[in-house]
Symmetry: C2
Subunit: 750 residues, 2 copies
């Protein structure tokens, strides 16, 4: 089926018309016949010619061989296979004429020595804590060196206590528990995976006084409730367990002992007992098979409807009578992380670096996560090298990085970024990340100065399943499935599709949020969901049967990411678009105002209903569910400084855009001013309470984990009801926008 | 906990102020200090004095004894116990000096002779089709004469075919099935209970070509997913089956052989083979225990997320490979339905009748449904009789009716209403219904001319759990849990709470929708949900443990419904309020316009997306899910005739209200004109395609069953996309409003 692009083409023409007449409206999509932003017409043609050659160099069979080889054994950081893969990757890159080093860091990486979980009352049950091999997937029987299910950076210890069911263990869940008069203090919280990043669950449970946390995958969210389970289908079977780090990544990622500095052999380290990102209480992930007897033995109130899962039981909140004993011991050993760093010097602007990374360590065989991304990156690197040798050397320096130790907490990339902070802030144009890949729609998250840039790429890459461009396919999906009318309408009418702001969850975090380097993350997905994530079932067999058979989308990812690398490496004027940035920031400010208004209205209504006794009289007196507690009213905030700063920035962005579109050439210094403009969005002080995070537009949520918070200082002060902080945070956010404004004025020579 | 009513009292005062000044705004709540609408000040005081005496006469212990006696054995129509209960009720009413007759009707009532359900492929399983006795509930072992689980008015037959899972079996579900390329033609549809009235499921399945239907209660909707199951809790255990009628009640209720006429011994009857309300295909209800092996054996596409239930499996759509054999045979016998009709002649206006009914037949022991309502009605009837003998005889005639054969299709009430249609249309002031009762919030549905009347009662009856008025408690619940902001705001700010429009589901239907008699249905609920409905677990034990221990709300229902009976019987001017009616009708017109606008916009967007190929390119080509089929665009409709008619009616309602509030006495003829005003809302022709339903403001939905459709001619023409019918239906609806306008002008002597 071919998508009719008539209406879009017409729209683009209109948009250009507007640009000509009004001089402002430049959200114009460029079709492949059009000039690429940052290139002149000839340069665009030459770039596209090179890209066509590039596409032809991507070899799916070779990618498949790499995938099979690298995933033949478990390869977590510290394992022999991880080192072996790093060396193999280095060898490949060397063979393609890259200047390769393996950057080593000495990091803390605990593996479990003891994992015991027992129901001790009202009946007894011992959790198996193991995953079953399945027929038809030989990898699941090849488990030498496989890490058992555990949460890295859980503290060790032995606790015995009654269970309390906390749903997803989010702040809202604890607020509701309080209305039921149920506390986790002195108890073990049992939480479903989902609703927030896993590390938030033990963090909040500990804040609420719990002595331990269990996390299980409920089959409604991640199991038979989603679809057929492995090996009959891709979804999580009853023995599957999601491993994963629970370090307090929203405080800082990377080695827990060396915040802010590279974990080279000689740096001063924290004592592990002082490391703030290790959990306060023991935490263990379990399968739904192991969770069932525990949940079945619970009493207390029936949980609210929204909390119920897919097990064939009535879910109760506790506390107890189910009582469990949890014992965890870890080896707390130091291991070496091996980052492969491969450099190809730029011929014209060697001091300007494009960094392109993907981690290589997995929790297990790691076929999807991360090798499906690594093999696309390697195919890209090989093709880039081939092009360089056949007359298309990159103008700027390209650095390919295969990170180790991403899984335990973005450690390899963070240590390298911290280690080389100064030179990176000087030289890094952008960081381009990939990780696991799937089948379906293109997903791009990143700095909004790159929104236009990525839309040009989306328009030039074809979706392998339908033959339309990946932009058209994504646009179509948003037109139908966009979660709001605004999104559905924009998908139809806005020439550039929005890219998502980045929270955390992969290796872009140190570059973007610590160093202020414009970053992006690219992947495909939506038609390949499954339950193999961080289980022993993330195998070559699973991946090639259920996720991306034939690595068709692996090839597309290589084409997509390769264009990003090559265009950034070659664009005479770096394609940073500040109008896209200001438009998105305007939306975030609107969101935050709406958030405050909604909270103000809700709080006022709730408080009035509490005052009027309305909550009290509707409750069932036979049940232990009480009215909510009144909250301080939400004041009105002065957003004017932020909006005034944005207005000035918008004006300057328009002025710069006129310059950029005029065809004026960009000097090396202008390019420098362009790519270091993202540094204006960070402040040395960082965010309140977490100085490692320095970016004031994008951060992972302190209580959501991976989930992004845009303009985080302001947004989180409001969300966390720290009203006296809001005005100061608005000033800070306004300041960073003003700094960017000055930078743009310098660029536009205003 | 005592609800502070300050804000409400203040509001009432303001409302009265508005009335005085503006002369229009009369949605004024009357507190118990205020004059009752329809009474003068002295009359109100006397009425309230009588009601205080009435309240003291309600004896919960006696209600409990009746409940226990009447529910001691299964008592469906045609059973010995049903006749015995009818006679016992008649005897009680006679002993209280009512003029009692047992009105007998000869009706078709099929009981099953054969019920066989077998999975024949890909493996074998024979469904038990039985419910298990449980410990602690002796009634569940006392099953002599218990009807087994079945759907009355299913046709018999034997079919063998593959299963197709159809979710709730609604029109929207079949639309989605079509996108999956799955048809039920020649298959057996397996449907969850819920989403529509059960009789709609085989009706639609047959329209789509299915050869049989199974209906099961999914545990997510009605089982362990809701809460602890019987006997540990009130919810449906794995053997429980919801019985129930599947006759095509939206076409006509009552005896299937005698539409429109009373099923007395001598009337002409249809042949059963010509009866249009018997299903076209066999249908059988089953438990989730019996459903599990069938669903587990199904293949085909995984069902959409919204269709998934609470069984520990992945739900598939089929068709097959699960193949079942279903065999049903029925006895198709004639039985006698015994309606108990007890009359107390009015002393002043004996030709004006207040009819108060509750059915007495159950599907089984029937403690909740219907006996919890019957015992409240009997307590009321006894107290009314006592009051009559102690100096408070009713001014108008009161008729208590205990209906038989409600369960198979409102048969007892319908036959009596059809039999006495002419005199009822002449004499009946109102029909007041109750049925099963529970614990929690008051629910009133009914003709909106009674909205103000019922609000006055809600303000005078205290909630037994909290001590606030039942209006305050309902208002509080709507303030917190109202499903829209409009509802939550109105609960706070509108002096009268809205009553719900009536669809179907109990014995008010023939009175309201066939005869045009103002009707209402009253109950309490919200804190007593459970899964006993139409199962063998609807026992005295279950009811008094889980639903209304001590019959506390039974007493409140008697107080509530008794006031309704007594106030209607005694009001010098019948308390019909047409301003409440016009306000609600205005809301329905707005709803229908919004419905058309929403459908128009959705259809246009979908059609454009289909034309643009957008649906096509987002689909996963490895899955069999196609784009939707374009629908004819939704035209704009001319609602002006309806709105003009409403504007005139509103004007006349205001004029009548001024007269009524002036204290002018009402003659017998004026009262006659008042209560027969509801007849202006019916037309002899009835609704399109279902002439039995004559009311043009309220009807059960043709494709929803119990669910109400207001202004049904217009609404269903739009919903069913019969656009060429809409203008005509708007004219008809405008005509009935105009007829009511003329009636009000006659009343107001304009």
């Amino acid at each position: 089926m071919i998508y009719s692009s008539h209406s879009l083409t017409r729209f683009s023409a209109q948009a250009f018309h507007c640009l000509a007449v009004v001089g402002l409206f430049s959200f114009a999509s460029t079709s492949s016949a059009q000039t690429l932003f940052g290139f002149d017409s000839d340069g665009s043609a030459q770039q596209r010619q090179m890209e066509a050659e590039f596409d032809a160099l991507i070899d799916r069979d070779e990618m498949d061989r790499w995938l099979k080889d690298f995933s033949s054994e478990p390869h977590h950081v510290g394992s022999p296979k991880s080192k072996e893969n790093a060396e193999a990757i280095a060898q490949l890159l060397r063979s393609w004429n890259y200047d390769v080093e393996i950057a080593e860091y000495e990091i803390l990486f605990p593996e479990p020595l003891t994992r015991e979980l027992e129901l001790v009352a009202p009946n007894r049950f011992t959790a198996s804590l193991t995953e079953d091999p399945v027929e038809g997937d030989a990898s699941t029987s090849n488990t030498d060196g496989l890490l058992p299910p555990y949460n890295a950076f859980s503290i060790g210890g032995e606790v015995e206590a009654e269970l309390v069911f906390v749903n997803y263990g989010t702040p809202a869940d604890y607020e509701l528990l309080e209305r039921y008069g149920v506390s986790v203090a002195g108890k073990i919280a049992i939480s479903k995976y989902g609703g927030s990043w896993r590390g938030i669950k033990p963090k909040l449970a500990a804040e609420m006084g719990a002595v331990g946390t269990l996390i299980y995958s409920d089959p409604a969210d991640d199991g038979y409730g989603r679809g057929d389970v492995y090996p009959d289908g891709p979804f999580k079977n009853d023995s599957g367990v999601q491993r994963g780090s629970v370090m307090d990544m929203p405080t800082y990622p990377g080695d827990v002992l060396t915040p802010g500095v590279g974990a080279t052999g000689d740096v001063t380290r924290l004592s592990r007992f002082d490391a703030p990102t290790i959990t306060q209480i023991p935490v263990l992930p379990i399968s739904y098979r192991d969770a069932l007897p525990l949940l079945e033995a619970m009493g207390g109130a029936v949980v609210p409807e929204a909390w119920r899962g897919g097990l064939p039981i009535t879910y109760h909140m506790g506390p107890g009578p189910a009582r469990v004993r949890l014992k965890l011991e870890f080896d707390w050993k130091m291991v070496t992380a091996y980052n492969v760093i491969a450099r190809m010097e730029g011929t014209e602007l060697p001091e300007q670096w494009i960094i392109r990374g993907n981690h290589h360590d997995g929790w297990n065989h790691g076929a999807a996560d991360p090798l499906s991304g690594i093999v696309a990156m390697l195919a890209e690197a090989k093709a880039v090298s081939h092009l360089a040798q056949s007359g298309y050397p990159p103008a700027r320096t390209i650095i390919y990085a295969a990170w180790d130790a991403e899984e335990p907490g973005l450690i390899g990339s963070t240590e390298w970024a911290e280690h080389h902070a100064e030179e990176l802030q000087e030289h890094a144009v952008a960081y381009l990340n990939t990780d696991g890949n799937g089948r379906g729609f293109v997903n791009v998250g990143g700095s909004h100065v790159l929104e236009r840039f990525f839309n040009e790429i989306m328009e030039d890459v074809k979706d392998p399943q339908t033959g339309v461009t990946v932009q058209e396919r994504r646009r179509a999906n948003l037109r139908i499935n966009g979660s709001s009318e605004k999104i559905r309408n924009e998908a139809k009418n806005r020439s550039n599709l929005r890219i998502s702001p980045l929270g955390s969850g992969s290796d872009y975090t140190p570059f973007l949020q610590h160093l202020g380097i414009a970053s992006a993350n690219m992947s495909f997905g939506g038609h390949s969901s499954g339950g193999s994530y961080h289980t022993m079932y993330d195998t070559y067999e699973h991946y090639t049967k259920w996720i991306d058979p034939g690595l068709v989308y692996g090839q597309t990812l290589a084409q997509f990411a390769g264009r990003a690398t090559l265009r950034l490496a070659n664009a005479p004027r770096l394609p940073f678009d500040f109008q896209g940035f200001t438009d998105n920031v305007a939306g975030y400010i609107e969101e935050i105002e709406a958030l405050a208004d909604g909270m103000r209205e809700k709080t006022a209504t709730d408080n009035q209903n509490i005052r009027d006794g309305v909550f009290g009289i509707i409750l069932d007196p036979t049940k232990s569910f009480g009215p909510p507690i009144p909250k301080p009213p939400v004041p009105h905030f002065n957003f004017a400084p932020l909006k005034n700063a944005l207005a000035r920035l918008t004006d300057s962005a328009d002025a710069y855009q006129r310059l950029a579109m005029s065809g004026a050439p960009a000097s090396a210094h202008q390019n420098y001013l362009l790519y270091t403009s993202e540094r204006e969005l960070i402040r040395e002080e960082g965010l309140a309470g977490r100085p490692w995070y320095k970016h004031h537009i994008y951060a992972p949520g302190f209580y959501t984990g991976y989930g992004v918070k845009t303009i985080p200082g302001v947004r989180e002060a409001i969300e966390q009801r720290q009203y006296d902080q809001v005005a100061g945070q608005i000033e800070i956010a306004a300041d960073v926008l003003t700094n960017l404004t000055l930078r743009l004025d310098e660029l536009a020579e205003r």
